[in-house]
Symmetry: C2
């Protein structure tokens, strides 16, 4: 429970000392579990905690990934009990960071501790890599991987930053979308103008932007950026079957969306669109007078923020270039556009379903729960998986034990107490299987 | 000068007493000029000042229109001398309301006073109608015209709320655009959604709005609302000639616009577009996340504010209905749109160029300045002219004497002192001509 008392809010500079305390807590816990190496590794931001436990050069090396930072707890008034004073009620512990992801993190250490107690040492070589900046983009982890990737070379990554696809249904994240985005600023002149005096004879930046934004999709819902789909790996029959299977147990995201209608790329089911097809979203758009009442202005500036969710084998940097080329091609003469690329791109990631580690992990989780684990995809982006692929050239098995429904970035986040020993047993079983 | 010392700012409730003082000042000035009737007429807002001077039932009745309210003086720090302490420098008087339009207003009274002194009484029957709410929409004047129009029945209106089309070039406003507008609120669902979890499968309100807004114009710049041009009186050869003639002396609005390019309806010159063709402007547009950085949201709401500038014989109410029908027709299923109509519509107005009063006025102004006055149009809207047409069924001759370049709604507004006696002589000559 102590781990839940430290407010390791990575985004808030006031918690800088708490981040150090939290890192030290984990380092000490690793040491207590028996890890021969357990270090705090400073970065430009919050420190990494890196542990090592080499047992046998003939055994595979498994890197266990997690993060010890948490989302801010605001709005505080909506918490039934204080976010950093863990409260147990009816078999659940309520605390910020309980599900995302301190319970899983501690369970990985407990699992190794238990294996070492049972066999004298772990059954594989282990690297523990816990970062403190997942909630703020992981840029210093990536910098570390870029510079010191060789120090954490491994055969497989187990990411504990995950949860169950449905209540009491275990599963593995097998595909995550990539992401890129930009803000486009349109300028048609040096100053906003009176619509009566000028509106008929000069471009209106809002109109230019609307007409431009309307070219991003075709009438049916396909992204109409030239080249956007060129590298997309078409969904196979087995991909479609996997999505159907996962959808059968996953929450009905559409029903709970509050949307009045479905929409999207023709030829694909809503689940296929969300889990298997790339998208372009207009996250924000603004220009001219947006206050109460009316102002008869012909604005000279308008702005749009877009992000794309990407699938294999799209390249986020290339997609940004395609978008910029599309915009330049579609601009009228005398209209200026500038581009600000969003920080924190993500490459799409998918683990081959026949990956040795995934198969062994699935097998032991199946035994543990007496139920086949679900291979499920998320529409969101967890860039660390693709970054491990990029820098370490290894696949990542994503396995975590929080139940869906816990409000991981909202008040009253919880973790079910019974899931903690199951998580420990689950991670131990997987690590043991990887050593066989 | 006293008239310029009263801060008659109609929009500011703190100046309510000043508005009454200003109205009383004008009433007293009318009385001093000899008007047999000079009344303060209360309204739901600031009072009207109404004077009457009937001389002979065989003579035409001329209504002189003006307004005694002024724009706020902010930003005060940009005034070289205080806005309500008139300062004379190099032949100009600097004060808020000097050009717009206290000098003209006083000149109309002086003109009548001079005519009465010369001939014993004015050469026509006169109604003086001065309002205190022109800068805030004139709604109480319109209410008065709707209810008591018969009390101010007349043969012609002279509006003194005008200026010269070019420095030292006299002229008459002959056409003013109408206006209507609305805000359209698009809703695609009950809540903003995570673009990864939902973006591929539900409508994005920003995208819906952009695609909708892009249908307002065709690719070449015509308004593409069905029926929009149906009632537009096509520009005749003489209209085009008039616009060319006026453009030759008017300021080059395009050159000073700061716009990087021209734009607009094909088949018409920029001046023809501004002065003779209707337009639709997107004044404001917004939806989703518009702050710093990125937020991967699929928004459920987006908003747009539009106004149209209209020409004869378009009807603003009908145009609003056409826009709403266009929007409804172009919405995808499951997208909701609501409409808020802008307050203060304006009908387009144009005075027939062969109107007897306009012709006589042009003739005497030509003599006074030894130069042909210019018939010029404005792209903006001065609704009072069309309201006189609507409620009193009379035409309005717009004649005023401020020079272009004076910042009528900005700091350091000025009126050239030499223009005051010219204004008085000009109004007197026109009134005299109308009595012949």
């Amino acid at each position: 429970m102590d781990v839940l008392r430290i407010p390791s809010v990575s985004t808030d500079p006031e918690h800088k000392a708490d981040m150090v305390r939290q890192a030290e807590w984990i380092r000490a816990r690793l040491e207590r579990a028996g890890a021969p190496v357990a270090d705090i590794v400073p970065t430009a931001g919050h420190p990494l905690v890196i542990g090592r436990w080499n047992v046998n050069d003939d055994k595979p090396t498994v890197l266990i990934y997690g993060h010890y930072d948490v989302q801010p707890a605001d709005p505080l008034e909506l918490w039934e009990t204080p976010p950093f004073e863990p409260s147990i009620r009816d078999g659940y512990v309520y605390a910020r960071g309980s599900a995302d992801m301190k319970a899983n993190l501690v369970a990985t250490i407990q699992a190794v501790e238990a294996l070492a107690a049972q066999y004298g040492q772990p059954p594989v070589n282990l690297i523990f890599l816990y970062e403190g900046e997942e909630e703020v983009g992981s840029s210093n982890l990536y910098a570390y991987l870029a510079e010191h990737g060789g120090d954490v070379a491994c055969d497989i990554v187990i990411s504990a930053d995950s949860g169950f696809p449905a209540v009491d249904v275990p599963g593995f994240f097998v595909a995550l979308k990539g992401m890129c985005g930009c803000q486009i600023d349109i300028k048609t002149g040096e100053t906003d103008l009176h619509s009566g005096g000028y509106g008929a004879a000069v471009p209106n930046a809002n109109q230019v932007l609307a007409q431009l934004a309307a070219t991003f999709h075709d009438d049916e819902g396909r992204v109409a950026i030239e080249g956007f789909y060129d590298r997309v790996a078409e969904l196979t029959e087995s991909d479609r079957a996997e999505i159907v299977q996962a959808s059968a147990v996953q929450q009905d995201v559409i029903a709970e969306s509050g949307a009045y209608a479905l929409w999207g790329e023709p030829g694909y089911s809503p689940a296929e669109r969300i889990y298997g097809r790339p998208t372009l979203d207009i996250n924000g758009m603004w220009g001219g007078f947006t206050g109460e009442g009316a102002k008869t202005v012909t604005p000279c500036e308008a702005h749009i923020k877009i992000t794309c969710r990407l699938v294999p084998d799209q390249d986020p940097m290339e997609i940004l270039e395609l978008i910029e080329a599309h915009v330049r091609k579609n601009l009228s003469p005398g209209v200026q556009a500038s581009f600000q690329r969003k920080q924190g791109i993500a490459y799409p990631y998918t683990i081959p379903r026949d990956n040795w580690a995934l198969q062994r992990a699935a097998s032991v989780i199946s035994d543990l729960y007496a139920a086949s684990p679900v291979f499920f995809r998320v529409g969101g982006s967890v860039p660390v998986t693709s970054e491990f692929k990029r820098y370490l050239d290894v696949e990542t098995v994503s396995l975590g034990f929080f139940q869906p429904g816990t409000p991981i970035h909202a008040p009253n986040e919880w973790f079910r107490l019974n899931d903690l020993p199951m998580a420990q047993r689950g991670y131990a079983a997987v690590i043991e299987a990887l050593g066989e």
